[in-house]
């Protein structure tokens, strides 16, 4: 019997001894991303351009933040479904504060700072509640965060009554759409300040390097990637996701650690919400149909994390997010209707889960 099953299935032991296959298996998402970049550069008009890469990365910037927070939760063996709506809630709250302070005559700087700070602080509360329920009351993460999913959404709706929040200080838009450096053939280099151009030709030829929001996100990601990979806090996160019992025996304060992890996840969602205010120049609640939390989870899984916990990295998640973003953008630039894009994203996700399920020795070999 044993022999026949061996004949039927692929011999993973043997496969995983092959270095090339091991390398491909571990980095399939990255290889796929590179392959897509090459493919779309041939197929899509204007795909391979700095402007389009800016579009891709800006398009997935909120997803990138959400997925990074989700990475911590998934590594610890949990799941956080509330992030999409926490983002919407923070987006609405901080934009309302900015709008009202601005209307009350405070300077734009003070309005924006207060709005952003209070937004970020508000975002910690859902995380604490999630963590408390999961860690102390032993509510399954799926249920606890689903509850917060509804609460955050309801609060956001209540606050904005369905209207987008506008009338923000004009500087919000200028900051959210600023780049680190500009180069115009006519006016030369300039840093942070966009050159005044009137001719359409000149506007189209303006080269913009590194969007400011992306610079900030990179900064946050480096800090948290360091925390995850180089600190005791990170090691404990992996330990809890790997084997809770072992973690407890090793003397880790598991409940406290879990609360911290859900707060981190919620903080990332809050940061995404504040970022959204600056990006869109207004406060918007998250639409039901957006499914941010699902795409964030998908990106984490594509990036090599396991839904059963104990595995995953921030950089893997970054690749996952870029893969989803590039796939969407590339198919869009090719002019493919939206329906096919959903199918394509679904297929990629299935591939990721299949690889995680059936080739664990290949992908996660220590």
């Amino acid at each position: 019997m044993a022999k026949s099953s061996n004949d039927f299935f692929i011999d993973f032991e043997k496969l995983s001894r092959n270095r090339t296959i091991l390398l491909v298996g571990r980095n399939w998402a990255f290889i796929f991303l590179t392959f897509m970049l090459i493919l779309f550069s041939f197929l899509g008009k204007n795909f391979f351009s700095l402007k389009n890469f800016n579009n891709i990365i800006l398009g997935v910037s909120s997803l990138l933040l959400l997925a990074s927070g989700e990475t911590f939760v998934i590594i610890s063996g949990g799941i956080d479904l509330s992030i999409g709506f926490v983002m919407g809630f923070v987006c609405i709250s901080s934009s309302i504060i900015m709008r009202d302070l601005n209307a009350a005559g405070y300077s734009p700087i003070i309005s924006m700072m207060t709005g952003s700070l209070i937004g970020l602080l508000l975002g910690l509360i859902p995380g604490f509640i999630n963590g408390f329920f999961v860690a102390k009351l032993r509510v399954p993460p799926f249920i606890a965060t689903l509850g917060m999913w509804g609460i955050a959404n309801g609060l956001a709706w209540r606050l904005c009554e369905g209207f987008p929040v506008g009338f923000l200080p004009l500087q919000v838009r200028d900051i959210g759409n600023a780049y680190l450096a500009y180069f115009s053939p006519k006016k030369g280099f300039s840093f942070l300040i966009k050159p005044e151009l009137t001719e359409r030709e000149d506007i189209l030829n303006l080269v913009k390097v590194i969007p400011i929001p992306i610079l900030l996100i990179t900064f946050i990601l480096i800090i948290f990637a360091f925390i995850l990979s180089r600190t005791r806090f990170g090691q404990h996160t992996y330990a809890i996701g790997g084997k809770v019992d072992a973690a407890i025996r090793a003397g880790i304060n598991v409940p406290l650690h879990l609360i911290k992890i859900y707060i981190i996840s919620s903080f990332f969602a809050a940061a995404a919400g504040v970022l959204l205010v600056f990006k869109l120049n207004m406060g918007v609640h998250t639409q039901y149909t957006s499914s941010y939390e699902l795409f964030a989870i998908a990106a984490v899984v594509i990036g090599g994390a396991s839904l059963t916990g104990g595995k995953g990295t921030i950089w893997g998640t970054l690749i996952g997010v870029l893969l989803i973003g590039t796939l969407n953008n590339g198919l869009m630039m090719m002019g493919l209707p939206i329906f096919y894009r959903y199918i394509a994203t679904g297929c990629i996700l299935i591939i990721a889960i299949l690889i995680d399920q059936f080739f664990p020795e290949l992908v996660h070999r220590e």
Binding site: N52, W157, R200, N281, V284, Q287, M332, M333
Partner: protein, 322 residues
């Protein structure tokens, strides 16, 4: 104990009679389609008219998402109280709401559909959905054509345009798209270079219009079919630095869009008349119930076009959704 229960029941019975007699005024119910500025404005228009005519107006809870699965349970709870004289509602499905509203109609509550309709919206011919008293709403196809014409006017009758839509499964926005396509076809020098669906997410709309701008560097105009797609579209144009060069036409005069028009970020807004639709429902409902008046089967209150020129006119202000 038995006596106590019987007495209690009797008291309840008497009280319910009293309340029916006291409530000689008419009681209308309004069931909106989704929580958004459009229906909020409709409610305000209906409320003002109801106060004026002495009608009590019950408002159904606003569904958080579009679709019968969200609307029907709330609608059923709303009419379950059984003392409603007339219902006006925006059915969220042309088919799925037919049996539900038919049942309400058969229980003796006359129904008016507002903004959206049952079947094909023509209640004057024999069908299984011709029971509502009237359809009061917008002709989305016509509106799409009007926007196409106005955008062509802005662009001098030539150039490339792009359409940012929301949900490919909703009749109202799809009719706007069809109308817009038909309207653009009238102009031989105009070309519709693409259509995208953002599913009501502003962030997605930004990404989609950004890609369209990159694909078509000479794009002349964008039509965003609702609040979310239009605001996403103008954000994409702004971040490309092309405000003014790319004309943006949009639908629904929310305060944020009006502000954008004043800042010069949006060039054209087609306003529906939700407040008027709501007021008409109440007014005609009263006429029907008190005077037995015959209602027209279809009423289109018309549009108002906001541009840079008229946005500050005093008489235009009433068309802004508030």
């Amino acid at each position: 104990m038995k006596k106590f229960i019987i007495t209690l029941l009797l008291i309840c019975l008497v009280l319910s009679f009293v309340s029916t007699i006291c409530a000689a005024q008419l009681r209308f119910a309004f069931m909106p389609g989704i929580a958004d500025p459009f229906y909020f404005t409709m409610e305000k228009g209906a409320k003002a008219k109801a106060e004026e005519l002495g009608v009590e107006l019950l408002i159904g809870e606003y569904p958080k998402a579009w679709g019968p699965e969200y609307q029907v349970p709330i609608l059923k709870a709303l009419v379950a109280r059984g003392d409603i004289d007339l219902l006006f509602t925006a059915p969220t499905s042309t088919e799925a709401l037919i049996p539900v509203l038919k049942e309400i109609h058969d229980s003796g509550i006359p129904v008016i559909t507002v903004d959206t309709y049952l079947g094909d919206g023509d209640y004057s011919k024999p069908s299984n959905y011709n029971f509502p008293l009237s359809y009061i709403g917008t002709d989305n196809f016509l509106g799409g054509q009007v926007v196409a014409g106005q955008l062509a006017l802005l662009l001098g009758g030539k150039g490339k345009v792009f359409l940012e839509n929301t949900n490919p499964d909703t009749s109202s926005v799809m009719n706007r798209e069809l109308g817009f396509r038909a309207g653009i076809e009238i102009f031989p020098d105009m070309e519709l270079v693409g259509v995208e669906y953002c599913l009501d997410s502003q962030e997605t709309a930004v990404a989609q219009v950004s890609a369209a701008l990159l694909k078509n560097p000479d794009l002349g105009g964008v039509f965003g079919v609702n609040v979310f797609s239009a605001q996403g579209a103008y954000q994409a144009v702004v971040s490309a630095g092309l405000e003014g060069a790319v004309k943006i036409a949009t639908w629904d005069a929310t305060e944020t869009l009006i502000e954008a028009l004043k800042r010069g970020e949006v060039d054209l807004i087609l306003a529906q008349m939700p407040a008027e639709m709501g007021a008409l429902c109440v007014e005609w409902g009263v006429k029907y119930l008190n005077e037995g008046a015959e209602l027209p089967k279809k009423v289109i209150p018309g549009f108002f076009i906001f541009t840079q020129e008229n946005v500050n006119d005093p008489e235009a202000q009433k068309y802004i959704y508030k």
